[in-house]
Symmetry: C2
Subunit: 206 residues, 2 copies
């Protein structure tokens, strides 16, 4: 099957990865409003890990190495490399014996979430994980209103597939409110998303 990325969205990818770079200063004070969704998730995962609640990590961005120097008596230096498109989602891990797998997306839109934020390979990966009994979902953050939803992957698939069958290219906010769990900010962890995961697990009857 041909994989196509709507609106040439793949151009966003290297920029996004660069934004993830540790070279970008960390925002912490008065944190929440200034933090990216990725920072909020990483922060929450660090809390869950430190408190032995779950082991969930963001995967490193895959890199295609072209030229690497190995200077004597010092660390190898990558001199030429390119970002590669990941073949999976960004996050996975284990919680209460369950395999968790998810991705995190942000939009500046206010009334709907564009499906072009997702890529075909991510949807395929999530479907494969669901098939193996994983707990899969996506974070959808509306940055303009600073609101985060956790959308179960099975719901996401419906909207994703409909778009190729004459359906909308975005998920209306009112549908998201209905199909998702809203994650409310708190102090520690910043986004207590495992509460929503508990509900997903309970509903799945696993």
């Amino acid at each position: 099957m041909t994989i196509h990325y709507p609106n040439g969205n793949q151009n966003n990818y290297p920029t996004k990865s660069h934004a993830n770079s540790p070279a970008i200063p960390h925002v912490s004070l008065y944190g929440k409003r200034g933090m990216s969704l990725e920072e909020e998730i990483n922060d929450s995962n660090a809390y869950y890990l430190a408190h032995e609640i779950a082991v969930i990590h963001k995967k490193p961005t895959p890199i295609q190495l072209v030229k690497v120097d190995y200077p004597k008596r010092s660390a190898a230096v990558i001199k030429e490399a390119y970002f590669r498109r990941p073949s999976t989602t960004d996050y996975n891990g284990v919680y209460r014996g369950y395999y968790l797998d998810f991705d995190a997306k942000e939009t500046n839109n206010k009334t709907s979430f564009p499906l072009k934020n997702f890529h075909e390979h991510q949807i395929k990966h999530l479907k494969a994980c669901i098939n193996q009994g994983g707990i899969c979902f996506a974070f959808l953050k509306f940055t303009a209103i600073n609101v985060i939803y956790l959308l179960p992957a099975t719901k996401l698939f419906i909207y994703w597939d409909q778009q190729f069958d004459g359906g909308r290219k975005s998920i209306p906010l009112k549908n998201i409110k209905q199909d998702s769990f809203q994650i409310k900010y708190q102090l520690n962890p910043i986004i207590p998303y495992l509460d929503a995961v508990d509900k997903m697990i309970a509903e799945s009857g696993k």
Copy 2:
């Protein structure tokens, strides 16, 4: 749990075609002697993925970005970067609802496996995953005799911890034979390690 894909989209599963792709060279029986353990695992994981048996991936190597160029109308180029030490093991994924997590090590030794092949953070990560109900293990390959063992992490921990208590700095081969599952090469997948994982799961009573 019943899994249903809207529009019967299951057929889109990417790696089915991947398995037949001419881009991926097929490994002959003679080929395996030349393959690294990592290649053997990746190859087997591709087989398991394509046949919808398990979803297990190697994590990318983490990179510390220092300088990235963004030329007009072409892909971002990483001009300076360094390898970072991973905070987890190299492989994880989901199989039959279970979270799998493991690392893979090789030695040229013939009679024992040096523990220095493992790092403290990997052991710590494996212990955290076991705590969450994950199925964790390590591949130990003796390259000189081309033999691979799958050692459950709980056994590895015993040898690891003993070395700081006056114990050996390596695991004798005879102990490995006793505590591990030997993975015998076959055609497809090259290393059918999920058979050993099935036994681990059965023994764990999970």
